[in-house]
């Protein structure tokens, strides 16, 4: 029999995060949804590429930034939100619903380590999706404008990635809240795709209040950075007959947008972890 102290030794938490991330990524990578997501990205990119090549719209082929704003900027948020829902929406709830948690949790491993490991796996899978989308946009740009890419594009990719991290943190929190995977996925899609958009519109257009509390408002920097010069923070235009009603458009400056995303990331990470730590494995 081995020496007792040896048998009771433990693996470091950092190493365990890597192990959980590795096998969860492997699980994602082999699952159908990864390829569905790649297919969606290729479909959107392919459609854009085809339409531009066929129609050659003069308006956007004059400047590389305007071009990238269309082929990258207009759909990147959708891609981020979809991969967030695909990879993060059920990450935690499935451990309960599919009973995989019964295999993983009763081990000398902290729940927070499982949570972080799974988050890293989801981030890795989603980052690959994002990079595939970026690659097609880059290829298009290189074709029409030669071997230069504006710095603003790289900033936009970076911001999109930060948005991805924040959105995943958000989806993980929802995933910890619900035991049903489908409800968790549905809720994150509905929230990120519709609810926050409605909040943004209602707050800014109708109430005239800056929606600084909305994650999608913060994510506006991904698109805004592709506009030169950067759009003003507050912009009002009179609308309606006689200009009696004025419409206010808010655009988060870079610092503010990143701060909103950072706060969402942190608050949701803490909330999700707190929920997961307390959640019980009961049938």
């Amino acid at each position: 029999m081995a020496v007792t102290s040896e048998r009771r030794s433990r693996e470091s938490s950092l190493a365990q995060v890597g192990v959980v991330a590795k096998y969860n990524f492997l699980n994602y990578f082999r699952a159908r949804r990864f390829y569905v997501m790649i297919a969606i990205v290729l479909l959107i990119s392919g459609l854009l590429t085809f339409v531009i090549a066929y129609r050659r719209p003069a308006g956007i082929l004059t400047a590389d930034l305007g071009f990238l704003s269309l082929v990258w900027g207009s759909f990147v948020s959708l891609i981020v939100i979809l991969s967030t829902a695909f990879f993060g929406g059920d990450a935690i709830s499935s451990e309960f619903q599919n009973r995989t948690g019964y295999f993983l949790v009763p081990n000398p491993i902290r729940r927070s380590v499982i949570y972080v490991g799974k988050w890293i796996a989801a981030l890795t899978a989603s980052t690959i999706i994002l990079l595939v989308y970026a690659a097609v946009a880059i290829a298009n740009s290189l074709y029409y404008f030669g071997f230069t890419l504006p710095n603003e594009f790289f900033l936009s990719v970076l911001y999109a990635w930060i948005f991805l991290a924040a959105a995943l943190s958000f989806a993980f929190a929802f995933s910890s809240l619900f035991k049903s995977s489908s409800i968790a996925v549905l809720m994150s899609v509905i929230m990120l795709l519709f609810v926050f958009n409605v909040i943004d519109t209602v707050a800014s257009s109708l109430a005239g209040v800056e929606p600084w509390f909305s994650i999608t408002y913060g994510a506006g920097v991904v698109q805004s950075v592709l506009t030169v010069p950067y759009p003003p923070h507050v912009f009002s235009t009179p609308v309606g007959p006689g200009g009696g009603f004025s419409l206010t458009i808010f655009t988060a400056p870079v610092w503010e947008g990143l701060a909103i995303l950072g706060i969402y990331f942190a608050v949701m990470a803490v909330l999700g972890l707190w929920l997961f730590e307390r959640k019980e494995f009961t049938a």
Binding site: M1, A2, T4, R7, R8, S9, R10, E11, S13, A15, Q16, V19, V20, K22, Y23, N24, L26, N27, R30, A31, N98, R99, T100, G101, Y102, F103, L104, V105, P106, N107, P108, I109, R110, R111, R278, E280, F281, T282, A283
Partner: protein, 311 residues
């Protein structure tokens, strides 16, 4: 320090329902302890608390002296478990899933392959080790789950109905595995009393969330089975009334109940006779006895007398 599992005033409530009430139980040393009780008694609840799947409402659960709720990682460092029927990420193979566990549990990488091959071999799943778990049957998955408890050379093993879903050979194999773990502390719940009698040294019985008894199987049987043994006696010809009275006169026989056409059920007093003596006595009567078989173990009697009704 010998391996140990200890529940101190352990209670669990689900809303207003008390699933477990003030459980005090200390298991210590290398042995196998059977955990018995009717459906809904609180067996799985107890085991889930010990493995950090749920938390206790009050009280403490200690593994090797470490409180699970305070230091789960420390408490489970040398404890493996199989609670209910876990699932493995469906696109992993058994080999990958077990490698993942080895890495989490800190099994040195130089030993992983050897340990995994050995564990997979013991549950006879070599042929499937590189196939994705997603397509496995329930019993195949359960075999891998059993293998997963053997990887890291644990001192304490918690098994919740480990033979669930296994075919007859699988059950025997798992029983043999449990029997071979005699240098560890095994805590195993089961509804199969014959299984518990075969592999366990001690039993703890629980009902309605309360511990009824914890002792060696011999002691529990002696105390609660009413001391009776039950045997089924087979005859070469249909049993007649005369045969019944002859059999009833054999020394040590307490009662005779007609079974099917060629069978009688006897209750005998193990204090005055043994099965062997009983068989000799019956044979000497020359009434055509062809077989003698134990029908219920002492443990079953003890269980039935301790647990009056289920649910």
């Amino acid at each position: 320090m010998p391996p140990s599992l200890e529940a101190v005033g352990l209670s669990k409530k689900f809303g207003n329902f008390a699933a477990l009430t003030d459980l005090n139980l200390k298991l210590q040393g290398a042995k196998c302890v059977g955990f018995l009780g009717p459906n809904g008694a609180g067996k799985t609840t107890t085991m889930k608390i010990f493995t950090g799947l749920i938390s206790a409402s009050s009280g403490r659960a200690l593994i090797n002296g470490v409180d699970v709720s305070k230091d789960k990682k420390g408490a489970l460092a040398s404890c493996t478990s199989l609670i209910e029927t876990p699932e493995i990420y469906s696109s992993l193979t058994p080999k990958e899933a077990l490698t993942m566990l080895c890495a989490i549990r800190g099994v040195p990488s130089s030993e992983r392959n050897k340990r995994i091959d050995e564990a997979i071999g013991r549950v006879k799943m070599q042929e499937w080790e590189n196939k994705k778990v997603g397509s496995f049957s329930k019993g195949m998955k359960q075999r891998i789950n059993v293998a997963s408890t053997l990887l890291s050379d644990p001192e304490v093993i918690i098994l919740d109905e480990p033979t669930t879903g296994l075919d007859p050979r699988g059950m025997t194999e798992v029983r043999d595995i449990v029997k071979s773990l005699d240098d560890r502390l095994v805590f195993m719940s089961s509804h199969l009393l014959a299984e518990v009698t075969e592999v366990c040294d001690e039993v703890a019985m629980i009902d309605h969330g309360k511990l009824l008894v914890y002792d060696s199987i011999g002691a529990v049987t002696a105390k609660f089975s009413g001391g009776g043994g039950n045997v089924d006696v087979g005859f070469s010809h249909p049993v007649e009334a005369q045969t019944i009275s002859i059999v009833g006169s054999v020394m040590g026989v307490l009662s005779v109940i007609p079974g099917s056409e060629r069978h009688l059920l006897l209750k005998f007093d193990p204090k005055t006779t043994s099965q062997e003596k009983l068989f000799e006595g019956l044979a000497a009567m020359r009434v055509g006895v062809t077989s003698l078989k134990e029908t219920s173990s002492g443990l079953e009697d003890a269980y039935l007398s301790l647990i009056k009704e289920t649910l």
